[in-house]
């Protein structure tokens, strides 16, 4: 009886761990025919607009549901996902259209040290442990890698 109880606890715990460990940006179940990961790590502000334009153009180029787009930001490029970013409205709009935004947790920690507090991110951004790792995962899942 105790063994069954132990197994049940173990199973429930495993399920809990699995469910919490699953990234919010899981994409491998996507049914889209085309999947793109767009990478931004530049300081250059013009790259921010460019990558948002790229995302918009990709959405426009395919029928609804046929394309999956995720923008991954790390390093200086993470400023794109700051709540105060001048392009925040466009980020929100693209998010509502299905574009995903991944913010690098490592970069965030580094910035918090420099600023004395963690910068406030746009609520549509999901923090991933490492931006570069996230890109690797997506590429492995078949995403086409683009760095504008």
């Amino acid at each position: 009886m105790f063994k069954y109880f132990q197994s049940a606890i173990l199973a429930i715990s495993s399920l809990f761990i699995l469910s919490t460990a699953t990234p919010a940006l899981s994409a491998d179940q996507s049914l889209a025919d085309y999947k793109y990961v767009l990478h931004i790590s530049d300081m250059d502000p013009s790259k921010q607009e460019l990558i948002l334009n790229n995302a918009k153009n990709l959405l426009d180029a395919y029928p609804p549901g046929q394309v999956e787009v995720e923008i991954v930001a790390y390093g200086p490029g993470l400023r794109l996902m700051f709540a105060e970013n001048v392009n925040a409205q466009r980020v929100d709009s693209l998010s509502q259209s299905g574009v995903k935004f991944a913010a690098c947790g490592n970069t965030l920690k580094g910035m918090a040290i420099q600023l004395g507090a963690e910068p406030k991110l746009n609520p549509v951004a999901t923090v991933v442990p490492g931006g570069i790792v996230r890109i690797g995962e997506l590429v492995k899942q078949g995403y086409i890698y683009i760095k504008p």
């Binding site: 502000p45 400023r79 794109l80 700051f82 105060e84 970013n85 001048v86 910035m111 910068p119």
Partner: protein, 461 residues
């Protein structure tokens, strides 16, 4: 004086009301906000930029009856010829944020290397004309410190590289583009170097004298360039329905692009604008803007005709209001400027900063001027047509009251948004019009002031 105080109070009151009642800030396209307020989280650490202007001008004025020329008949800043090529502006600037993670600190610096009233009088190869840091930590009260354009008239406050004419209106040139009296007292008698105009005058000079080295431009410090060194508190507020209200209050040395404050007094500036925004961004943002401004200061000047340095402090006050409309394909601007004290002369006598005692003196004279201008961007082409009428009355109600009227008609061709060529033709009617004896001599010089044509290429990078 009562009117002035009321105007000042109204500006202060309006600015305070805005500061306490308006909610939120915008990053709108107006001259106050176009520098030092980079886009949040999207500013470069250092963005290099600048502009170059190359021009050709020809002045068709005639000399006076004895062959002498005065400044309005010659091309600046040298004032020794009636036609020629020049590079009036060649700048290199840098702007951005030193610490890109913090959008609330921005800087702006600009170096002028063109040949103009800023660089020529001091004989400088280059002159720093902007060097400021803007802090945006206090909601509704951004702080800018350093050397920068003071809040004031549209012609002065707007970016010069998008200015639609080659030359300023006479009111802006004569009343706002400040010429500073030579600092040290020097009698003009027997000297050819810059001297105190009160004791004498130079010119008119004949062509031969000018070619022989005679100098009509005896100013020894840069023009004010619509700038000052000091601190400004300012911001812009979105007040709903696409209306934006901006304010600025500044205190500065009152010495243009020079860094000293030799008289120990400070100039004060107030500015208020309300704009219905139609769209666009940057220097060509579209909207309907109403604005009013004032500035109050003092200047030291030695007017006595003796060999003793005994400078006295004179008030220098300016105020104005105006309206600007821009919505493609049309543009229209009107502006009125009022001046009290330190009225720069120069019309009939070269470095004639102030008139002779017999005629009263520009140091405590009054002046006013206005202009109205419009532009038409010819649809589906790269051409633009411009026209402006401006007038200036200086030394109002004095024996030597002058009225300068000027029509400017122009055409511009925009090769691309950052490169254009501007053709201007100026029709000038300058005269001393008090009807009194004080006008006799000035008019012998002003009667020959003729028209002027200019062609200018502007490139922004």
């Amino acid at each position: 004086m009562g009117d002035k105080k009321q105007f000042k109070r109204a500006l202060i009151s309006a600015a305070c009301t805005l500061a306490f009642t308006a909610a939120g800030t915008t990053h709108a396209a107006n001259w106050l906000m176009l520098q030092g307020t980079e886009d949040p989280a999207a500013a470069s650490r250092a963005e290099v930029w600048g502009y170059v202007q190359a021009k050709y001008e020809k002045d068709y004025s005639e000399p006076n009856t004895t062959g002498g020329f005065v400044p309005p008949k010659l091309l600046g800043p040298e004032l020794d010829s009636q036609s020629g090529f020049n590079i009036p502006r060649a700048t290199i600037g840098i702007r951005g944020t030193g610490f890109p993670l913090d959008s609330r600190v921005n800087y702006f610096a600009l170096l002028e290397m063109g040949n103009n009233g800023v660089t020529y009088p001091g004989g400088a190869f280059a002159k720093l004309i902007d060097a400021s840091v803007t802090l945006s930590y206090i909601p509704g009260a951004r702080v800018r410190a350093g050397l920068f354009k003071y809040p004031g008239a549209e012609e002065g406050l707007q970016a010069i590289h998008v200015f639609d004419y080659i030359n300023f209106s006479e009111a802006s040139n004569g009343l706002l583009l400040e010429r500073f009296p030579n600092k040290g007292f020097t009698s003009c008698t027997g000297v050819t170097t810059p001297c105190n105009a009160a004791t004498g005058n130079v010119g008119p000079y004949t062509e031969a004298q000018l070619q022989g080295g005679a100098s009509l431009n005896t100013l020894n410090t840069p023009t004010g360039a619509f700038r000052d060194v000091g601190v400004q508190v300012f911001d812009a507020f979105d007040v709903g329905n696409d209306w934006e209200v901006s304010y600025a209050a500044m205190i500065g040395n009152g010495n243009g692009v020079e860094f000293d404050n030799s008289d120990g007094e400070y100039d004060k500036y107030l500015y208020l604008s309300g704009e219905k925004k139609f769209g666009g961004k940057g220097a060509r943002a579209e909207g309907l803007k109403f604005f009013a401004w004032g500035q109050w200061g003092t200047r030291l000047l030695d007017l006595t005709n003796d060999s003793t340095a005994n400078a006295k402090s004179y008030n220098r006050n300016r105020a104005g209001l105006g309206v600007k409309y821009l919505a493609q394909p049309f543009r229209a601007t009107a502006e009125y400027i009022k001046a009290d004290g330190m009225i720069w002369e120069g019309p009939d006598k070269p470095n004639f900063y102030f008139t002779s005692t017999a005629n009263g003196n520009g140091a405590d004279a009054k002046a006013s001027g206005w202009y109205v201008e419009g532009g038409w961007y010819i649809p589906s082409t790269k051409f633009e047509l411009d026209a402006r009428f401006d007038t200036l009355t200086r030394n109002e109600n004095r024996n030597d009251q002058y009225t300068f009227d000027k029509w400017t008609v122009g055409a511009q061709y925009h090769f691309n948004p950052k490169t254009r060529v501007t053709l201007n033709y100026e029709i000038r009617d300058f005269e001393c019009d008090s009807g009194l004896a004080g006008c006799t001599v000035p008019n012998t010089n002003l009667e020959g002031v003729g028209n002027k044509v200019g062609l200018q290429l502007t490139m922004i990078y």
